[in-house]
Amino acid sequence: MDIKFQFEKLDKNKNIVSVSPKYQSKSFVENFLKLLFMDMIVGGLNIYGIDGVYRGMGASLRCVVNMGGEDFHRVSALADDWNRLAVSDVGIIIGSGTEPILITDYQLQTKIHNGNEAGELEYLPCSGTNFTVNTGTDVASFEIIRIFRNNTGDPITINEMGISQIGSYSGYSYYTPALIIRDLVDPGQTVDDGEYLKAKYTIQIAA
């Protein structure tokens, strides 16, 4: 399995300003493997949530939630619990930290929070797209995409990025997200005021 990530910068009119090369992702962290294990055997394991608490977690790799926007998958009975999640806790998340990745990482070093205050970026919904199977090249893949907008008045530099799933425990009565991928973004991606940054992870396999 191979993961790459790429960025597009767009100006305030959503015209593409630049497209980065595709970078090799490294890597899935331990949480991913544990959640995959739970999916494959229906077992329960303790994992670290992004809050640093080590707890039993239901098997779920779900990371695509239209947080902050229209979420037609929302179940009304869970609405209160859903609403406890911050948009910057689930899906593709970004930060400014530069510490090397550890297999045991459970959160970004310094997360950039959602908002329009100094040092923040606005998180738009995270989506998945482009599921493809190319029989000619024997490659199958899908993409996870999120767009961030800088409305702070100042440039902001992204040095780390990851994907956080929507965790669950206690019979789905509460959710605590867990980080499943963390990458350093080197060179850092600077988003000027008024610009958008589109981050894309491509997950693929090849025969």
């Binding site: 399995m1 191979d2 993961i3 090799q24 992702s25 490294k26 890597s27 899935f28 962290v29 331990e30 991913f32 493997l33 544990k34 995959l36 294990f37 999916d39 494959m40 055997i41 229906v42 077992g43 394991l45 098997a59 779920s60 790799l61 779900r62 990371c63 695509v64 998958h73 990745i101 550890l102 297999i103 045991t104 998945g128 599921f131 199977v133 190319n134 029989t135 024997d138 490659v139 199958a140 893949s141 899908f142 996870i144 799933q165 929507i166 997950i203 693929q204 396999i205 090849a206 025969a207």
Partner: protein, 194 residues
């Protein structure tokens, strides 16, 4: 999978033992080739956690070749003794792996008749980690009580849920012949590393 400098690896190895569990052969750890399209389809489903019915065009094939839209995650690979419909399975086909493979070419049936092997239950090693690697192992043993030799040329992993779906298929680099009363144990190692 071997085309990429990836950090998420899938490996397999096996041991062959006689009826007294004396090891006769132990393979090296080999790179798998590979996950098939069903796996990435179901992983996508797991990332979304809802039915592909919401997303037209993303279908998955069951092991009988019929097409479905999974409504559950279908990555479950546990399997009971004698069950060849799920979990780690072996076969005698050696056609090269295709990204769209949805079954082994020729699965070896469970039993003690000619050409058959006795399938144990699938077992799992809990995830372990070092400072750079996290991994877990899926294991199954196949015993030959057929009275003759049985040759294995391919292996695979079938996930179950509302439908059975082949997730992984590998053609062995060299076939392994299991003599009567011998057993072979396969391990799939799924790991991520820095």
């Amino acid at each position: 999978m071997t085309k990429y400098n990836n950090k998420s690896s899938l490996l397999y190895n096996y041991t062959i033992a006689d009826k007294n569990d004396t090891i006769l052969k132990k393979s090296r750890l080999k790179k798998c080739n590979s996950y098939v399209a069903n796996f990435i389809s179901l992983l996508r489903n797991a990332f979304y956690n809802y039915s592909f019915a919401w997303w037209p065009g993303t279908l998955t094939k069951t092991t009988d070749g019929s097409v479905y839209r999974p409504s559950t995650q279908n990555l479950l690979v546990s399997s009971t003794t004698g069950d060849i419909t799920q979990g780690l399975v072996v076969g005698s086909g050696d056609t090269a792996v295709d990204i769209e493979d949805y079954s082994l070419e020729t699965i070896i049936a469970n039993g003690t008749s000619a050409g058959q092997l006795q399938y144990s239950a699938v077992t799992f090693g809990a995830p372990t980690e070092t400072s750079t690697v996290a991994k877990f192992i899926v294991t199954r043993t196949f015993t030959n009580g057929s009275g003759g030799d049985v040759t294995i040329k391919e292996i695979g992993l079938i996930g179950r849920g509302n439908y059975d779906s082949l997730l992984i298929r590998d053609v062995l680099t060299s076939p392994e012949t299991i003599a009567h009363t011998e057993k072979i144990t396969f391990n799939y190692t799924l790991q991520t590393s820095l």
